[in-house]
């Protein structure tokens, strides 16, 4: 059994209430931090813990906090990114729904560390029922004096608000989120300036993911050094993984970073292996934006080493033979899945979610979707495959925000690893007219055979 921090008490009845949460040791970290520690000491502990952002990019949290402009006269803000809209990712929802006080306490400790007197949780529109759960938890915390004026009898005061989004994936990009929070259209901002200098209302701001913030009280409880002992190398601590697809036990799991991918997929403690004993075809490791991996690169890296659930091991081999841990949205596809259909579905998503500010993403996402639609429905030509590669290349790196890259990577990687399957669609237009073509007659390309 791996060590559990975030989800240790998830099955305790009533853990969503303040009473039970406190009984299980809740708010001791907040009390310790606010009563006995200086704000900078907390940032120091977070730095020592090696905690990296859990929202996708994996940027060290303590370092991000230390960039906040301390000289500015303006108020500072902490904003929690609970927009969680990446297909395949649903861990934040699970945490907030089950243990809302974990996030509230995390916001309290982190706001204190940053010197923020106002903090926001920006939650996606579709999580309306979770909004209600959070609001209830926040009301409980206010009533108990854990939010509001003079917390724990000190002169530290904090107001925490929840703001619901309109349901746009792009509002998960931190600067689009800030625009939306300010009541504007959710277009990403040009960077620099970074939020740490000029964020919400042009004031110094830190934006962190739900899971990142919820990890902070645990770091205060067990110390940064102790937290850093969990995991491997620069991938420290525990991580929530949203597992879905053709596995026996889909769900949200907390793992110690460093677990092998093999154990995660096949052991009964986690995903419990592939459904109906079928062969695995592909894996998306970290949410829909990261490159897809073919069967032979899932449990082993290109050098034949065990692939681990760490930032480094998953990205081993770069984009040629690796991927990214991203947000931890792991999707498994077996031999009945159609990679072309899957890629088209993702392309449709990015096309729909592009904000439309910059031309490569605005025009390119729609174009790629249309070409993929054509191939999937048996109307493609061989030159469409290279066209897709070229469009993806012209978007990647040339846009304002990473949504452009996120739209290009899944397509480029699918063609890199599954070109045969795209060609099959072009050569067998009659067979692919049936939307479930591979469910009846699995396509076994060389990638599956190599596994």
């Amino acid at each position: 059994m791996g060590r559990k921090l975030l989800l240790e008490h998830v099955n305790v009845p009533g853990i969503e209430t303040l009473e039970v949460y406190k009984k299980m040791g809740g708010y001791t970290a907040a009390e310790k931090a606010i009563k006995t520690m200086q704000p900078d000491d907390i940032t120091e502990e977070v730095k020592k813990s090696g905690l990296r952002g859990r929202g996708g990019a994996g940027f060290p949290a303590g370092m991000k906090w230390s960039f906040i402009d301390k000289k500015s006269e303006k108020p500072r803000y902490l904003v929690c990114n609970a927009d969680e809209s990446e297909p395949g990712t649903f861990k934040d929802r699970y945490l907030m729904e089950k243990i809302p006080h974990a996030l509230v306490e995390g916001m309290l400790v982190s706001s204190y560390a940053l010197g923020a007197k106002t903090a926001y949780i920006y939650i996606r529109g579709e999580y309306f029922y979770v909004l209600r759960i959070l609001e209830k938890a926040i009301a409980e915390a206010y009533a108990a004096g854990l939010l509001g004026k003079n917390i724990f009898g000190t002169d530290y005061s904090l107001d925490l608000h929840v703001q619901i989004g309109g349901g746009a994936y792009i509002c998960g990009e931190e600067t689009a989120l800030l625009e939306s929070l300010e009541g504007k259209r959710g277009n990403p901002r040009m960077k620099p300036p970074f939020p740490a200098i000029s964020g919400l209302y042009a004031s110094p701001t830190v934006v962190n993911n739900v899971e990142t913030i919820a990890a902070v009280p645990h770091i205060i409880n067990i110390s940064g050094d102790e937290y850093a002992k969990i995991g491997v190398g620069r991938s420290t601590g525990t991580k929530l993984i949203s597992a879905s697809g053709h596995i026996n036990k889909p769900g949200t799991y907390e793992i110690e970073l460093g677990l092998t991918v093999e154990e995660f997929i096949y052991s009964d403690e986690y995903c419990g292996g592939i459904k109906d004993g079928r062969k695995i075809k592909a894996m998306i490791a970290g949410g829909s934006s990261v490159p897809i991996l073919p069967a032979h690169l899932i449990t082993k890296t290109a050098n034949g080493e065990d692939r681990l659930m760490t930032y480094e091991s998953l990205s081993d081999g770069g984009f040629v033979s690796g991927t990214m841990l991203g947000s931890g949205g792991l999707v498994i596809m077996d031999e009945t899945a159609c990679i072309v259909r899957h890629t088209w579905t993702l392309a449709r998503f990015y096309h729909h979610e592009s904000c439309g500010q910059c031309s490569p993403c605005r025009e390119g996402t729609g174009w790629m979707e249309k070409v993929l639609h054509r191939i999937e429905h048996g109307h493609g030509t061989m030159k469409d495959i290279d066209l897709l590669v070229d469009i993806a290349k012209k978007i990647e790196g040339n846009t304002i925000c990473p949504l452009g890259d996120a739209s290009a990577w899944p397509i480029a990687s699918a063609i890199r690893h599954f070109r045969e399957e795209f060609e099959y669609h072009i050569l067998n237009p009659e067979k692919v007219k049936d939307p479930k073509h591979f469910a009846h007659e699995p396509f076994v390309g060389s990638n599956v055979q190599n596994a």
Partner: protein
């Protein structure tokens, strides 16, 4: 001051200058094309990505190259920065991509478009685009709408540069009623439920629009631009915020159109009021100063006015540049 090198040409510019403006201070081919940036509109730029350049050396203090191409209109120079524009194959390739993206949904209805001949997209496509399209799909279409009785919005042609929304916000006073609705490639410029824009300066949207998406209804289909004669003119405008300095586009004895005076980068020198633009169409309304020097490289400058002088200046400039480069080598 900061010393920057763009395509081998050295220049010194004040700190805080953008790469694009540094290049413009010298002029010529080292200036990246800009479809969304407009120096007189705050917050503009960064969107179209035609001005992407490569920074092969960040600064003297930190000589590392920047990892990605950067929008020159929104990236400020550093002392010792080295920038590649047309000397970088990577930049040209990316730019070709951007032009293609801008064109895939564009109707290419130049033969019936009022902007033809002074269209930045035409010029851009001519210079940086490919000869044929790889886009086989249907192009998106919208219905044409009137924004008030003087301005026509032809959304099919819009490249979503956002310039007109900044005009509505910053130049045309009044409520913020003009903006962008919807997302992605289905985004569109709109007023709230086709509401008229009621402001003395709304007509400037037409001038800032790089394409034929916003056109002057009082001059629509009047004539191809290259059959009209641009003349600098002015009048004593009763509006204290308007300079009354314009260009009138004459055909025979008639003034077909009134616009702001545009510089070499197609930006107006000063914004003008709607009375000057839409109401004053008689020669007697204006003091005519003389022919307008059209510096912008386009169909008009190719056929008319002072073109030869332009070329001569260019040649002299290039000779100087080549000489500097040879001396350095």
């Amino acid at each position: 001051m900061a010393k920057v090198t763009i395509d081998g040409v050295e220049m010194e510019v004040p700190d805080g200058t953008t790469i694009l403006n540094a290049a413009r201070s010298v002029g010529g081919d080292i200036v990246p094309p800009a479809m969304c940036y407009y120096s007189k509109l705050e917050g503009s730029g960064g969107k179209c990505r035609t001005c992407l350049v490569k920074v092969s050396q960040g600064s003297t203090n930190d000589p590392r190259p920047m990892p990605k191409l950067v929008p020159s209109c929104r990236t400020t120079v550093m002392d010792g920065m080295v920038v590649e524009n047309i000397t970088s194959p990577e930049v040209l390739e990316a730019r070709k991509g951007v032009v293609e993206f801008l064109l895939i949904n564009h109707p290419l209805d130049c033969p019936v478009c009022d902007q033809a001949g002074e269209c930045d997209l035409q010029n851009l496509g001519y210079k940086h685009g490919a000869a044929a399209t790889r886009y086989e799909e249907e192009r998106r279409t919208y219905k044409k709408i009137d924004i008030g009785d003087k301005i026509k919005l032809h959304m099919d042609r819009c490249i979503l540069c956002y310039r007109c929304t900044y005009v509505a916000d910053q130049i045309a006073d009044g409520d913020r009623c003009h903006g962008i609705i919807n997302r992605g490639d289905h985004a569109e410029i709109s007023t709230y439920i086709e509401k008229a824009i009621d402001s003395d300066f709304s007509g400037n949207m037409i001038d800032v629009c790089p394409v034929g998406a916003l056109t002057d209804k009082t001059a629509r289909f009047g004539s191809r631009v290259w059959f009209t004669k641009p003349m600098d003119a002015h009048r004593d405008c009763e509006n204290p915020k308007c300079s009354g300095k314009v260009v009138v586009w004459e055909k025979g004895e008639d003034i077909l159109r009134v616009t702001g005076r545009k510089d070499a980068y197609h930006e107006v020198e000063e914004f003008i009021c709607n009375t000057c633009r839409f109401e004053k169409k008689k020669v007697s309304d204006w003091v005519i100063e003389g022919p307008r020097h059209i510096n912008n490289k386009s169909v008009i400058s190719a056929n008319h006015y002072e073109h030869l002088k332009d070329i001569k200046e260019d040649i002299v400039k290039y000779q100087k540049q080549i000489a500097t480069n040879i001396n350095k080598a």
